[in-house]
């Protein structure tokens, strides 16, 4: 079995209002030197497949079909055998 750790974030061109609000809250808490905050999503998917390459292909397919909206979001993932 494999574990995919999938990180979904806004594309750099998209203003993330939640990130902006979190950044301003951190500044109110007097954290110094906060350059940027963006809020994303994290998914863990456990899945089986013939081999790691086949599972990686499956992960990319399911992320692109459902987990992200191509208008605004992009992703990275880590895949490990468990």
């Amino acid at each position: 079995m494999y574990l995919a750790k999938i990180y979904v974030t806004y594309k750099p061109s998209i203003l993330d209002p939640q990130g902006v609000v979190i950044k301003s809250a951190l500044e109110r808490l007097e954290y110094q030197g906060i350059e940027d905050v963006s809020q994303g999503k994290y998914f863990q998917v456990k899945l089986t497949g013939a081999d790691k390459a086949a599972v990686a292909k499956e992960v990319e397919s399911l992320v692109e079909e459902l987990l992200i909206n191509h208008n605004t979001e992009t992703y990275t993932y880590d895949l490990e055998e468990i």
Binding site: I14, P17, L66, L67, N71
Partner: protein, 224 residues
């Protein structure tokens, strides 16, 4: 006119839409999202609410329901498809309208009445109005911030697919966009709720012009 309102798990403006249509003597059916054939309807309405709990993204799960497959067929056939609020979000997620609705630029859920300005008075949804007319219509959303890429935005403007703009940009939408159609003009989405403004008893019936336009469009099509 024969209309369908589709109720998804989590829809909460379906009965508002149903009653609004009934007030215009429309023959309206309330269907669930397992409906697989919508060919009998002149217009199909996807109401507001929180379909599938807004899990993952607003509209992201609803787009895979059987009813949305039928809506795609109806859209290709030229039937009118209208998505209000969450319905607009579902139509963008399904790819029937371009772009996406992100969280409001100013933090929080907005529940208010706002002025909409008619941008294109020649659409199926504004043909009884004039360019620049102002309609005061309720809004209620946390994710109404319309975003698309620059190329698509230019296409929307060049093709006159922007139907309404907000007078004041309440949620951060690009070009103050409140409602758009697809290129063919038969699929329409908007965040504001005209169905909540059809009875003078509630203090606001300015949404009636929207339904009058839609009825006029269906009537014209039947005569053609």
């Amino acid at each position: 006119m024969k209309a369908a309102v589709i109720t998804f798990p989590g829809s909460n403006c379906d009965m508002d839409m149903y009653h609004a249509l009934e007030s215009f003597d429309v023959d309206v059916d309330l269907l669930d999202d397992q409906a697989s054939d919508l060919s009998a309807y002149d217009a199909i309405f996807i109401p507001g609410g929180f379909s599938y709990g807004d899990y993952l993204r607003s509209g992201a799960v609803a787009k895979f329901s059987p009813a949305m497959d039928a809506v795609k067929v109806a859209a290709e056939n030229g039937q009118l498809v209208v998505g209000i609020c969450n319905g607009f979000q579902i139509l963008t997620e399904a790819g029937l309208l371009p772009g996406q609705l992100l969280v409001n630029e100013q933090p929080g859920f907005i529940c208010d009445e706002v002025n909409l300005v008619v941008e294109n008075p020649d659409s199926n949804f504004t043909n009884t109005m004039s360019k620049g007319d102002v309609l005061k219509v309720p809004i209620a959303h946390g994710e109404g911030n319309y975003v698309t890429d620059e190329v698509t935005l230019k296409e929307l403007e060049d093709n006159h697919q922007v139907i309404f703009r907000y007078q004041e940009n309440v949620n951060g939408s690009m070009n103050k966009i409140a409602g758009i159609t697809n290129k063919a003009g038969n699929v329409y989405g908007m965040m504001p709720h005209p169905e909540r403004a059809v009875d003078a008893l509630t203090g606001n019936d300015s949404g009636r012009a929207f339904f009058e336009s839609l009825l006029h469009a269906v009537d014209q099509k039947a005569r053609a």
